[in-house]
Subunit: 641 residues, 2 copies
């Protein structure tokens, strides 16, 4: 029966790719036995409750293997045969690469190589943490990953693997489809390293097996008992059974009809398109369901008991995801002057007490970003209860792992310097694509970081982040706006970036946490006839207010703080015109690139920005060099009025 | 004497950091013996010819160790004591992190961790390639890297190291300052892997030695004879000698005066600030110069002989860097319809024949990006003459290695899909910062890649690239503009990105290679009274021309092709107004984010773009979904006219 199911997985995949006219047949033929073994013999899932918290996770890191995954999910009962027939068509449940929230049973979107592997490490961290905070044995699941050579060549998978080794994440089982062919050809040009030795060096347990269910199964059983994360190398043949087997020609194009015929013959499957061996499918489905339903029922019972005995238990809060924060009743003390990175530390610690889902860390810069939960301890192999993750200098993995935490139900935060946000851009994009509530905290937000020089001084990063669809970027001016930014983050649960200063700024009476949701609002109103508007963000709000005050004898200036450009753009036109009436000289002051800010001013001469790389020197010298010191800005504005 | 020099390197570094009031003392104390050994006993350099092609390279990958590097360069004779005294001040030769083109003797800008290591692999590739193409034994140098734990945690260094192992780059010698402390604390939280075993798995030779000149020296001597790249772990103590030694407190803050006093006492150095032991310095300088000048004179002689006997020899062309391409005398045949990725393949192969410095590769997508030099063979351990590098699925390392190639005198190209440009953003930023002539080739440039879905469909990437200061982005409409883009790249030698389509487009008579340098120009002129202007880039130029033609009965429309937004912004106002007169309804059509394009239109309603993530489906279905199909666009424009 086993053979029949695997053969049918293969032919369904091939038929899907053939019908769609595009896709990746190679991996569907090499990895069918692997996915079969995982689902038939190990996965605990429930087709009626696809987001069951205690289910096992499966991450198709080699996302181009989507057809094989969908064929499997069809056999599980998540998808219909019609779904398979509409593979890669618009609005189908079976898109070109797996997409979270589109296909039931798909635990994350994959495609960009390495992301699945790294986010799976985040899922493994989440499971360990959740288990440690749950009094009963309610949470106990594994994360299975199917990856290929490409995933393991990506730096992000190395970063995440190194961390998984340190953290002894023995709930993580990676199946490596080792076919040694990639898109451009054989990997003897590109991937000759000893992968097993490398993972051993990283503190993993490693196995190497042939492409047989019995061998794979034995290795998974050993893996489940391991104290370490496990890599199982399965030596496969890319496109096994095809006439193009073991060449890169099988990687990314549909097979010819001749090839499909001979393959089906070899596999003892009728030629008929989308043929389904009903008996085999039922056998497979039953196998999964029998095992899973036992666990599911036990879980349900245990959870009900737990909820009764622990109405305030961590898992209850976790599952309800409600935070019940009364934002009107906030009492936090804070000093008159404070860098927003320090404001952020106070605020995130305040909210962490109220929202137990906050969980995250820094890429070896917690001392500088101050993004640290003071009373929550460090997460580590001896303390999975800790809520501060030490990511090391691994920004990219930090981002991808945060996605894994969010996919597991957490509200993850992570932090580094704004200039290094570049390192994790691919992961931020995945957060935005999956609409995950990850909070990216980026500090040291302008050239006034000073002496560290241009490599450490962000210029274009704000523009780059603001250009990502669906990401909400906050650059608070002070403590109040930092509070407001977090309130929005906690209410909206959207992918967010919060951009913070190292330089101290005043905490103003005119700023407002409530107004942050509007994206921009008036912090200084003209008294009579409006002469000009100064829009500013972050530390530049203080500067704008000072200019307005200094010029008040001659000009009646309004100052608008714009902590979130995207949020302001989403407001209705009425509000936008109220804040920024047309026909008024309007300036935009921000210590970064003007790229994307032209929307708010009538001519580029009103953009007061920095469009070149910074320089190493005292902050005041550097600001002066770029005419971004107070005097230069006041002078420029005065001249233009 | 050795001890005195090392002690003096340490105290000069500490004095620099103390005077500047910021910097990183920890590494200057742990790594002084390492840098001493490399420079005193191994480096071949010439202070009067700091860019000598056959010099050894030194890359301070742990860029925060800049003070130690500057102290060493002072002792070599590259810098003065006054330079050291102005450490981290504006316009000094001694910025906070090492900067290429600012400090003589600095072989690359470093600071963002991992970049130095990865670019050094590029330098090692360059040396192998240049040596293989040079008939005589003229080229023969080593690349020394000093790196720390942080560098080795970064994914990009893993990617580059794996490739260095495959390519057997035995000219690469990495000295690893293994102090096991990083900014946030001890690395037992973050870096417990067996680094030596990992590098062994990657095909490197590894050594582990104590922090003694004799031990380090012996290892370097062995490394020079190795057939493999070499990692030498030097077990050090962070901030050795300081009262804060072996803690993270010594990492990034100046020492107290008390600490400096006791340190100088320990090191037997007078308390006096910036004390120089002249005798020691002279001894050190002489040691380097004696060894180097012998090699330099031999090189000079050999080069003169070579130039005489091989006036057209590769090294002569390489050093002169002249290409002498007559752009007016180009005869290339090309078909009427062609995807710009295919145009690019023809064009880059054409120019490669004329410019021998083109050298590069793809991150396992050469079959799709078509960025491949057809007659130049593959670079590999058995053929260092090859000009196509197989990077594997290692986008980030590909970018950093390209920087290393450019720093070594090449004109490197590299390629992947536009959506994956995110993976190498940190490297692109380094190209831009150092103003290196790297050509980034990004294909599959819009949502019309179709079935592969949103992970593979770029939306915000053009905006992100255009926001990088100093990077010139080209999106040619057809064959002519692809030629023009390459002409500008070859003439300007600036960091560039060329954005190409998978979809076929017409090759127009109205387009012009010559006009690309202006950034934008008219490809369809109104016949009478101008009704509207359609700006378009890339594949959208064809679409814009079609709309203009279709609406010509009612409207007299000009079409402007804008292959390079940055280049157009650099034109004088006169030209800009000539192409885009004020007061005319102007549309901007581009299949990507509108972010940053508002500069060219009077209202956002004239922006015809895509500001959300794509979807998986047939290209025509996907375009329709986003109202970016021909009919929707024509309709929208008509309504607004």
């Amino acid at each position: 029966m086993e053979k029949d199911i695997i053969a049918n997985l293969k032919t369904l995949s091939i038929d899907m790719i053939n019908k769609a006219g595009s896709g990746h047949p190679g991996i569907t033929l090499s990895a069918a036995s692997i996915i079969y073994t995982v689902y038939a013999n190990h996965m605990h899932i429930n087709i009626n409750d696809s987001k069951w918290v205690d289910r096992d996770r499966f991450v198709m890191s080699a996302g181009h293997g989507s057809a094989l995954l969908y064929a499997t999910l069809y056999m599980c009962g998540f998808l219909t045969l019609d779904d398979l027939k509409s593979f890669r068509q618009l609005n189908s449940k079976t898109p070109g690469h797996p997409e979270y929230n589109v296909t039931p049973g798909v635990d994350m979107s994959t495609g960009p190589l390495g992301q699945g592997f790294a986010s799976a490490v985040g899922m493994a961290i989440a499971e360990k943490h959740l288990q440690s905070l749950t009094e009963e044995e309610l949470i106990n699941y594994n994360i299975y990953v199917l990856c290929g050579d490409g995933d393991l060549m990506e730096g992000v998978s190395y970063e995440a693997a190194s961390l998984a080794g340190i953290l002894k994440l023995n709930n993580l089982i990676v199946l490596y489809d080792s076919n040694r062919i990639s898109l451009d050809g054989e990997t003897n040009h590109t991937f000759t390293e000893d992968v097993l030795e490398r993972f051993d060096a990283l503190g993993w347990q490693v196995f190497s097996v042939g492409n047989k269910v019995s061998e794979i199964d034995r290795a998974i059983n050993k893996a489940k008992k391991s104290d370490l994360p496990v890599l199982i190398e399965v030596k496969t043949i890319l496109g096994e059974g095809s006439l193009l087997a073991n060449t890169n020609k099988i990687h990314g194009k549909p097979l010819t009809s001749e090839d499909i015929s001979q393959l089906k013959q070899k596999l003892n499957i009728p030629e008929e398109e989308f043929y389904v061996n009903e008996e085999a499918v039922n056998y497979f489905k039953n196998k999964i369901m029998t095992r899973s339903s036992e666990k599911y029922l036990n879980y349900q019972k245990a959870y009900n008991d737990y909820e009764t005995s622990h109405p305030d238990g961590y898992l209850v809060k976790f599952i309800k995801g409600e935070t019940n924060i009364n934002f009107n009743d906030m009492t936090i003390d804070f000093p008159q002057m404070l860098a927003t990175r320090d404001s952020n530390q106070i605020v995130m610690n305040y909210f962490s007490e109220k929202n137990p889902l906050l969980f995250g860390g820094s890429a070896d810069l917690a001392s500088s970003t101050k993004a640290y939960l003071n009373d929550e301890g460090d997460f580590g192999p001896n303390n999975y209860k800790g809520k501060n993750i030490w990511y090391g200098v691994r920004e990219h993995a930090m981002g991808s792992i945060s996605n894994g935490l969010a996919l597991s139900g957490y509200l993850p935060f992570c932090s580094t310097f704004l200039t290094f946000s570049d390192y994790l851009k691919p992961a931020i994009r995945m957060s935005a694509l999956m609409e995950l509530p990850v909070v990216y905290i980026f500090t040291h937000d302008s050239i006034n970081v000073g002496e560290d020089g241009p490599t450490h001084q962000p210029v274009e990063q704000l523009a780059s982040l603001r250009s990502i669809p669906g990401l909400i970027v906050y650059r608070p001016a002070d403590f109040n706006e930092t509070v407001g930014s977090w309130q929005n983050i906690l209410i909206n649960k959207k992918p967010s970036a919060i951009i913070l200063s190292r330089a101290k700024t005043y905490n103003f009476k005119a700023t407002s946490n409530v107004m942050v949701k509007n994206g921009a609002y008036i912090v200084r109103r003209e008294t009579g006839k409006l002469s000009a508007i100064l829009i500013a963000t972050g530390t530049e709000v203080e500067l704008a207010l000072k200019v307005a005050e200094d010029l008040k004898k001659d000009y009646d200036i309004r100052v608008v703080s714009m902590p979130s450009v995207e949020s302001f753009k989403k407001q209705n036109k009425e509000y936008q015109y109220e804040v920024l009436p047309v026909g008024v000289k309007t300036f935009f002051i921000e210590a970064g690139s003007s790229f994307g800010l032209r929307d708010f001013v009538s001519s580029e001469k009103y953009l007061i920005n920095i469009n070149e790389f910074g320089a190493s020197g005292k902050p005041e010298d550097v600001l002066k060099k770029y005419n971004f010191d107070y005097d230069s800005i006041r002078k420029k504005i005065k001249e233009l009025l």
